[in-house]
């Protein structure tokens, strides 16, 4: 019951946070009077154009983060010799959940991308590293975006790939960064973060489907797959962070797309103070993160008795009556 309540509360929280954040990306249901936004239509504000896609994508990302965390920790315990029934159940749960969620996430990600193409084309141009508006845009697997010379260096590309994905047509015209001179995000961070996210997603697909196949056919996982799962323990976390970098950096220079730029909204707090508080936050969170991960793996390595305490001896059996 308590678990359900926490899950419900967190989901409600995620909903409202994403409503607010999506409104910043695709504002709707308002009018500007003397530079102040006034709400005119609350349904349009809440269910703004990008909200459903971003909410779905985030909820699936959370599910995936959790699935791979459980799978990775269970695999770690298994490899350390703790091969009880509970570890097996947790391992199956993590692998299966991951295998089910990742194809859905890839689909939702694609739909989200198409929605972003419609409402925030500059962000898509940066994600794809597409400098000129044109058709037959290749899918850039890897490159080093050269912002000064407005081209990609050392590019490894699949011809027509981006046009096919975004326009479902090899000749499909994909917006280029040249269309948004001065009003597009810094290309490199968005470009790389997007590839980290998608790369993680592909790795999740591979390991979870491979793992599921072995579980289905053999009922157990080979050691190599176990180690693969351990390596992927924090993949959901990395992918989620990378995705947030794509979307938030991708919205720049806007704070509210088309309405308010980040520069306009910045306060007069001296940079030194902001720098100090940022440094303090980072320091504390690094310490907490290290402590958290070490405790997690330490407890996982120790097994149930260390965490739950010694199991009491069973009560003495009654002798059968003579």
């Amino acid at each position: 019951m308590a678990t359900f309540l926490v899950a419900f509360g967190t989901t409600m929280s995620a909903f409202w946070i994403l409503v607010l954040n999506s409104w910043m990306h695709t504002p709707a249901g308002f009018e500007l009077r003397d530079g102040v936004a006034h709400a005119t239509d609350w349904w349009a504000i809440i269910f703004n154009p990008s909200m459903p896609y971003r909410l779905a994508h985030m909820l699936l990302a959370s599910g995936l983060t959790c699935a791979f965390l459980i799978a990775g920790l269970s695999a770690w315990r298994w490899l350390r010799g703790d091969q009880g029934r509970d570890v097996a159940i947790a391992l199956r749960l993590g692998v299966t959940l991951g295998a089910v969620l990742i194809p859905v996430q890839i689909l939702v990600g694609d739909l989200h991308g198409l929605n972003t193409l419609e409402h925030q084309p500059a962000k898509v141009a940066a994600m794809e590293g597409n400098w000129e508006t044109r058709g037959n845009v290749p899918l850039v697997l890897f490159a080093i975006p050269n912002e000064r010379e407005r081209r990609n260096d050392y590019a490894i590309e699949i011809p027509n790939g981006a046009s096919l994905i975004l326009k479902h047509h090899a000749e499909g015209v994909v917006p280029g960064l040249n269309q948004f001179e001065g009003k597009h995000p810094p290309v490199a961070p968005v470009f790389y973060a997007f590839r980290v996210m998608v790369g993680m997603g592909m790795a999740m697909l591979a390991i979870s489907w491979l793992g599921s196949f072995y579980l289905w056919r053999r009922g157990t996982l080979p050691k190599l797959v176990m180690w693969g799962l351990v390596a992927m323990t924090f993949s959901g976390w990395i992918a989620t962070l990378a995705g947030w970098y794509v979307t938030e950096i991708g919205r720049q220079p806007w704070l509210v797309t088309g309405v308010l730029t980040t520069a306009q909204a910045a306060s007069a707090v001296p940079a030194a103070m902001i720098g100090t508080s940022l440094a303090m936050y980072l320091a504390i969170y690094v310490v907490l993160l290290v402590a958290y991960i070490s405790v997690l793996f330490h407890l996982a390595g120790k097994g149930n008795s260390a965490v739950l305490g010694p199991v009491p001896a069973p009560p003495p059996r009654l002798q059968p009556a003579e």
């Binding site: 007069a268 707090v269 103070m273 902001i274 508080s277 303090m280 504390i284």
Partner: protein, 106 residues
Amino acid sequence: MALITDNLPLIFAALMAVSILAYVILDGYDLGVGMLMARGNRAERDRMISTIGPFWDANETWLVLGIGLLLVAFPAAHGLILTQLYLPVALMLLGLTLRGVASSSG
């Protein structure tokens, strides 16, 4: 209805006051127990933690509600106050983070 819409600033100010009062009373208790913990032995500390047990986390949210109301109802004041008091507020937030960690680690 007009009675409400005509007095919205007053109503929201009152709600903020209630929220902050609730925070001061409820989380004040948690913080007080925390401050006194240094003076107890192991067993006493365990007992002290169990008195505030599941509640200290939730009591913080009254403060969050108060600040949220400030933002929603009085955005200009929110901007002004948090800009001018930036560093003290940042230190308060860090303190709250560390309090949470200390609580969990015992």
